[in-house]
Symmetry: C2
Subunit: 120 residues, 2 copies
DNA sequence: TGATGTAGTTAGCAAAGGCTAACTGATAGG
DNA sequence: CCTATCAGTTAGCCTTTGCTAACTACATCA
């Protein structure tokens, strides 16, 4: 199963909400992303099928190792690309928006190149 | 009519093929992009409807002013983003691929920021 | 106990944008 | 003149990913 951009966004969102401490439900994911309950329900179902997400008896969501791997990758890209744009003088909001789109498109090679640039 | 990423790609392709001198037909666009004739046919039809493309009696395609404006914008982004990645040490092929995706997503603000960086 | 509210699911719609199959219409060769 | 080829179109399918409407299941409250 190959993850689409939308799948990556759902995983990243679960990851971000998990980091805030509280248990994550589908409804929280939907609220964060601005999506309806059925959209999240289906997406989470597919991510479970794909082995990226698990849910316990109370419906609380967690990431599998693979899900976490993807989510962390996206999150790292997101934060670093945001930082990159801000360094170049872009306002925080625009930087975040652009990072959010680019994080799904960019190759590992190019990302690493930007990362090296930002960290030097 | 709001242009999607795919519309922008078709316009950019027509622009690139036009620059090569010869008259551009739908079939050329399809060959360049790796798409089937019906896909191109529909896309070009929509771009005509939207006022981005015109065709003469022989089926040769040309861009309207608005189509050219979009195509040139994408082309500029494409070449500059490629240059940006190459400058950071990314190989030409990867740089082009990534530029091709990012050119549709990035905001004017962030693009201008990268442009300033590359040109200094 | 019955009404309300919350979370999730099911069914089905829509738009984008690929595809194949099969048609039309013009041009060119034998 | 018939046939083959080439360009384009039409019809219709498929996937992705959003949506609404309507349902279920549970919990809480008066």
């Amino acid at each position: 199963m190959h993850l689409q951009e939308s799948g990556e966004m759902y995983l990243e969102t679960i990851y971000i909400l998990s980091k805030k401490g509280k248990a994550v439900r589908s409804i929280d994911v939907g609220e964060y992303m601005g999506y309806s309950k059925p959209s999240v329900s289906r997406a989470v179902g597919l991510l479970k099928q794909g082995g990226y997400v698990m849910s316990d008896n109370d419906g609380f969501l967690s990431l599998t190792d693979e899900g976490k791997r993807v989510a962390e990758k996206m999150y790292e890209r997101h934060t670093l690309l945001t930082r990159f744009f801000v360094n170049l003088g872009v306002d925080e909001e625009t930087a975040t928006e652009d990072a959010c789109k680019i994080e799904h498109d960019i190759s590992d090679k190019s990302f690493e190149a930007i990362k090296n640039f930002v960290n030097k």
